[in-house]
């Protein structure tokens, strides 16, 4: 398997894996989305809330804030505290604000981390308050999996795409430019009396150029042995950490399968 990074900017990682089975790449994608554990606020104890937002709305907004840290925590389901939550599987954050002026915005950066977990982004507004309004709360963050709640999903966009193949028959092509016009991603260009592809990986395989071409000179197909994985983190882990974590989870699953097969009686 040959890996080449296409781009790694704006929080989005795009890499091509050559000679990788599409089912394998999809397994990695699904593990990133559903089974990589990250922390998120699970319980909120509100001591005082005189803001115009209900307690429930504030708790919901807190839950969606991406959190960093928490590597030392264990999953609550696997913790010996019987899913009650204990210092081994929970980390506490507190927030205590009294607005001094009108239209005062409380940002996620105001939350004080009592444990290892802290907000990944300090500029998320939690509430807007007028002078004199108070918000005092204690939030308990837990590790969790994306399959249980979207707040534990470490990625926003995460996709696998096959390698597009764009074949242009120069004998049939009359350079009418219909395909250049039709392409929604604008990846075709005329250069030296021929149609050329400027960025192959931006092709969405929509085949609009095929339909637009009167002499049928352009043909779109794909190669499913080479696929691109697009990962866009929400901030808890970096994109490369996510891919590595997904590989670890997969290995761990294989180990579990191996040990359970080995523990079967000989007769099997």
């Amino acid at each position: 398997m040959d890996v080449k990074v296409l781009s790694n900017s704006d929080g989005q990682l795009k890499f091509v894996a050559k000679d990788a089975d599409p089912t394998f790449m999809n397994a990695i994608r699904r593990i990133i989305m559903a089974e990589v554990a990250i922390p998120a606020i699970e319980k909120v104890y509100i001591a005082e809330n005189t803001s115009v937002l209900y307690d429930d709305i504030i708790a919901h907004r807190l839950g969606l804030i991406p959190l960093k840290g928490g590597e030392i925590l264990t999953l609550t389901e696997k913790c010996d505290c019987d899913k009650k939550g204990c210092p081994k599987c929970e980390s506490i954050l507190t927030l205590e604000v009294e607005a001094a002026e009108d239209n005062f915005l409380v940002y996620s950066g105001r939350m004080k981390a009592e444990g290892s977990v802290f907000p990944a982004n300090n500029n998320i507004p939690i509430a807007e308050m007028n002078a004199g309004q108070k918000l005092t709360l204690e939030a308990h963050a837990r590790l969790g999996l994306g399959k249980n709640h979207a707040k534990w999903q470490p990625v926003s966009a995460c996709a696998v795409k096959y390698e597009p193949i764009i074949e242009i028959d120069s004998k049939k092509c009359d350079l009418c430019g219909a395909c250049i016009e039709e392409c929604p991603k604008k990846i075709l260009k005329e250069k030296d009396n021929a149609i050329v592809v400027t960025s192959l990986w931006d092709c969405t395989l929509c085949k609009l150029c095929e339909e637009a071409c009167p002499p049928a000179a352009i043909k779109i197909s794909y190669d499913d042995r080479n696929s691109v994985l697009i990962v866009e983190t929400t901030g808890s882990l970096t994109n490369d950490e996510l891919v590595l974590a997904a590989c670890d989870v997969m290995l761990q699953k294989c180990e579990e399968l191996k040990s359970s097969i080995k523990s079967l009686p000989e007769a099997f």
């Binding site: 704006d10 929080g11 115009v52 937002l53 709305i57 907004r61 969606l64 804030i65 991406p66 009108d102 239209n103 915005l105 982004n121 500029n123 998320i124 507004p125 509430a127 807007e128 308050m129 007028n130 002078a131 004199g132 309004q133 979207a150 999903q153 990625v155 926003s156 966009a157 866009e232 929400t234 901030g235």
Partner: protein, 72 residues
Amino acid sequence: MIIPVRCFTCGKVIADKWDEFKKEVAKGENPSKVLDSLGIKRYCCRRMFLSNVELIEESLKFYVRPKEEGKT
């Protein structure tokens, strides 16, 4: 009410970019260009900005301060 923390559809964190968006649009900048410069590419995230109305500012006007309550 108040800008949602994440995009309803894809889950991208968008709330942190709202202040910048609001400031630039108030200056008269084209919202489409502001969203491009903030790196909001998908239309699911873009509609979160374009369709948001800060109703919380309207409800804040009706907040009765405890001190004023005593006077009246």
